[in-house]
Subunit: 300 residues, 2 copies
């Protein structure tokens, strides 16, 4: 059975695993990533972790997931996001030189999507659009088990899609961008403004207040539902995936709001498209498993 | 050299051509399609046209483009649009039985996009998103020379993407759907309302009035530019194509408005993505050429 090294490199932690071609984790190590200590420290730590994996030399390739968009052609990160110094650094090439095997790189949302498409909720579908609603909102399109990362690594970077022009300017993203309106961060921001007496810490609290028929919470929830329904309808117009797969912390409160999002999606979509299934992500460790699956998705 | 039969079947006309693997039209016949006279008449006419192509038996496969979304799995049209009776009719299967060769079917916008990707403006790119701004607004995503038609044949059916919720209800499409706001039909509708004294017949006249600094025309043009810029920015967020290829009648007036659409796209996109090229469609006969390319794109 073929085995692969999967690396999930974040700003705070890094996880390295040996993964089988069926997505089973055979060995795994977690460590601090030393993201703030610069490229050299991050790399030397990463290299020694790989060498700790039993029989790592028997693996046929390495896959690595990193935060933010990646130039899959040069094997470098486009934006350093949580890993200062890594913008433009040839990370894939450096690991290839070190370990003498092919190295593939993509961003963490794309990698998680690939895990879902290969061995998770999307494994029986020929195409999925993965959407994660968490601190931010990200996604990835996986078609015939290949991530469509896009020309600049921005395929699936849906955070900046405008759902309503008539909102406030929040940050560098477009006015009315979905991430500023309907991510976990955005829902907490709006919840805190509406309910200063409550200690709003996560999106689920807003949906709970709506469940208790609080009129302001119901109104906010209706806006979120419509925004997200529109986002999914827009994605379907662009690529019409066979299924949506949903991940991210906000989806932990799915039972409090998500059936209404699906209804909203239907009312904003052509009849035929309205039957597209929405599935919950299933992988426990999509970061390392998806990273390990990158080489396989490229034919290795 | 391999040759293919390409069929461009519309509600009014049908064109059948023998096309080489490099996209050259070797023989071609045009006829009325008898779209209003029912399935039997349309098919008997189509079959005799194919038999008129010299040495049609030497062609290795048939590709057919039809109006509206197609179920590429069943080889049938999802909506009959301009061809009454054809909804759900197994058109590809019927032609396969008749001519004893593989038959592939897709909608006309997808087929035109494929022609551009294979032998037209997009031939040097690994992925293109084709957008046609004409009576309606359509599109198609072609990735590694394969059309991503989508699960229900609605991939690229971008007409229904909402660009601004705060518009009028026009028809069955979403309020603020791009087709109702910025297609040729929509621009003429708005132009007629604003300039009843002018005989507005096509979008170019509105852009001409803007060029003459008519304040109402400038305002309308600014809205169109922003809407279209947002549409392209949205598509880039979803799949980040290597290039956009533009077709359709409204693009005949490109010099009067389109550079501003590209600027608007840039202001609504991440910096990296802003350099995505916008190319004008190049194929003279994308309908038959693209149809003929369908089998090739599937490996034949």
């Amino acid at each position: 059975m073929k085995t692969y090294i999967g690396i999930d490199l974040g700003g705070t932690n890094v996880r390295v695993a040996k993964v089988s071609e069926t997505g089973e984790i055979l060995a795994s190590i977690k460590s601090a990533s030393y993201g703030n200590e610069g490229v050299e420290k991050v790399l030397s730590n990463l290299k020694s972790l790989v060498r700790e994996i039993p029989n790592w030399k028997n693996c046929i390739a390495i896959g690595i997931g990193v935060p933010g968009p990646v130039n899959t052609k040069t094997g470098a990160m486009n934006l350093e996001t949580n890993l200062p110094g890594f913008q433009g650094y040839p990370l894939a090439g450096e690991l290839k030189k070190e370990f003498g095997m092919p190295v593939f790189i993509d961003n963490d949302a794309n990698v998680a999507a690939l895990a879902e498409a290969m061995v998770g909720a999307g494994k029986d579908f020929s195409s999925i659009y993965y959407v994660t609603i968490s601190t931010g909102i990200g996604g990835a399109f996986v078609w015939h088990k290949q991530v469509i990362s896009g020309s600049h690594g921005f395929g699936g970077e849906i955070a900046n899609i405008i759902v309503d022009r008539n909102r406030e300017k929040i940050n560098y993203l477009n006015v009315g961008a979905i991430e500023n309106e309907d991510s976990g961060t955005a829902i907490v921001r709006k919840g805190k403004a509406l309910f200063p007496q409550e200690d709003i810490q996560h999106a689920g609290q807003v949906f709970q207040l709506a469940k208790q028929a609080n009129p302001d919470a119901l109104k906010l929830k209706a806006e979120i539902v419509r925004d997200l329904g529109q986002l999914f309808a827009t994605i379907s117009c662009v690529v019409d995936p066979e299924a949506f797969v949903l991940g991210g912390g906000v989806m932990k409160s799915a039972d409090l709001f998500f059936s209404e999002v699906i209804e909203s999606f239907k009312t904003q979509s052509h009849t035929f498209v309205g039957d597209t299934p929405f599935l919950m992500a299933e992988c426990d460790e999509p970061g390392v498993i998806g990273a390990a699956m990158l080489p396989m998705s490229q034919g290795l």
